[in-house]
Amino acid sequence: MIRAGVYVALTAVAAVVQVTWLSGFHPGGGGVDLLLLVVMSVGLLHGPEEGTLIGAGGGLLQDVVNGVPIGLGLGANLCAGFCAGIGEGRLYLEDIWLPALAGFALTLVRNAVWIGIGHLAGVVSVAPLAVARVVVLSACYNGVVAMPVFYWFRRMDRALERTFMRAR
């Protein structure tokens, strides 16, 4: 319960940081998606169920805060959370490059779903080349930022676990 509360708070903080401090940071058109990295960390550490739920909640919050049609981020982030969760128990989490690769791959997944749903619903109409460039660039940025975010998140998660055990 405490952990869920902390995750919800972290998701809200990531959404606010995204809309204020990171909204002006778009070198070359791409940008860092902090919320996706939080979803990735939860998925990798706790599996598909938590990844999907945090992805859905975070995506919904992102849609509300960003002013985009509601449902786009919800669908995209829950898919990203589910995919990250599939890696739990299968991937070696101590690998130093894992968060970078996961951040890169999940950005591709998240944006592919986002644009796919947007096209299906008729609310996104963008040129494929422009999309590819922006998405790959964003994936690179996310890959770089994913490493410190994931390791910080894992430390915090372990600290929460210890506190939880002590309270028992």
Binding site: P48, P69, I117, V123
Partner: protein, 280 residues
């Protein structure tokens, strides 16, 4: 203790159910006029997060200002090494005053524009921006308490910015002209040819439904037509960059650069409904 296959099935079921929910919510959104309908829960979330966003934007602006000042000090040192401390201090002081002077210029222009307008307006500062690359909206620090209502137009001294799509007590969200959900009735100032300016998620607008033989040329100014009961007449929208027409097309299309700098908005004016002649 559930078995592995049961657990796997439960996970997949949760995933599929949430996917269906996402699609259902999105489909419901498409029926709303701005392709976005925020329920009471969404509004509650925005009400809670708006002050936090406001505070974060303030902190970000302060830190950004300090960072740019530091950056400027570094470049001045390199540039004026032989002039030493006295000149550096003067430049530093100048650097500190420049943002204030720029802000003063912007506000002066906005005030001049406000005094020229026959509409009642509310000045608002931008506190948040949609970070996605394909949609364009900004969060401003004035809401229903200041008299702002849904569909109120937003402008700067340079021209039209967009219109309000969501309103909270102390904040509102302005849908910018560049957003694919935005459409504005316009006329070409020189020839009075009507059309519709649509956002395309890119830096330029597209004018559609211009008559096939319409007299539109690059450099022509575009203003609002006043049709549609959202935007008052004769607000400057932008300048035509180019016109295109296919051999079998019934209409011409034009690409227009918005007059207002929509990528660097810091302050804007919201034309409140009380001062909007067509809504009275």
């Amino acid at each position: 203790m559930p078995s592995n296959s049961l657990l796997r099935r439960r996970r997949v079921a949760l995933f599929l159910v949430l996917c269906v929910v996402a699609l259902a919510v999105l489909t419901a959104q498409l029926r709303a006029p701005d392709q976005r309908r925020l329920g009471w829960a969404g509004l509650a979330v925005e009400i809670v997060l708006a002050p936090i966003t406001d505070a974060a934007a303030y902190v970000g602006n302060t830190l950004g200002g300090a960072w740019s000042a530091l950056h400027e000090i570094g470049s001045l040192r390199t540039e004026n090494a032989r002039l030493a401390a006295e000149v550096a201090a003067l430049r530093q002081e100048n650097a500190g005053l420049r943002p204030a002077a720029q802000e003063n210029d912007r506000l002066r222009a906005l005030l001049g524009f406000k005094q020229q307008q026959p509409f009642a307006t509310v000045a608002a500062a931008v506190i948040g921006r949609d970070p996605s690359q394909w949609f364009s909206s900004v969060l401003v620090d004035r809401g229903s308490r200041a008299g702002v209502r849904r569909n109120d137009p937003a402008v700067t001294a340079d021209g039209l910015v967009g219109h309000v799509i969501e309103v909270g007590p102390g904040w509102s969200r302005v849908l910018l002209l560049l957003d694919p959900r935005s459409a504005v009735g316009i006329v070409v100032t020189r020839s009075r040819e009507p059309g519709v300016a649509e956002g395309q998620g890119q830096p330029a607008l597209r004018i559609r439904y211009l008559a096939r033989d319409a007299d539109v040329q690059p450099g022509d100014q575009i203003v609002t037509s006043g049709l549609g009961e959202i935007f008052p007449k004769n607000l400057v929208v932008g300048t035509v960059l180019g016109v295109s027409r296919g051999a079998g097309d019934m209409f011409q299309e034009a690409v227009v650069r918005p007059s207002a700098d929509l990528f660097h908005l810091e302050e804007l004016l919201i034309i409140v409904r009380g001062g909007f002649p067509t809504a009275q």
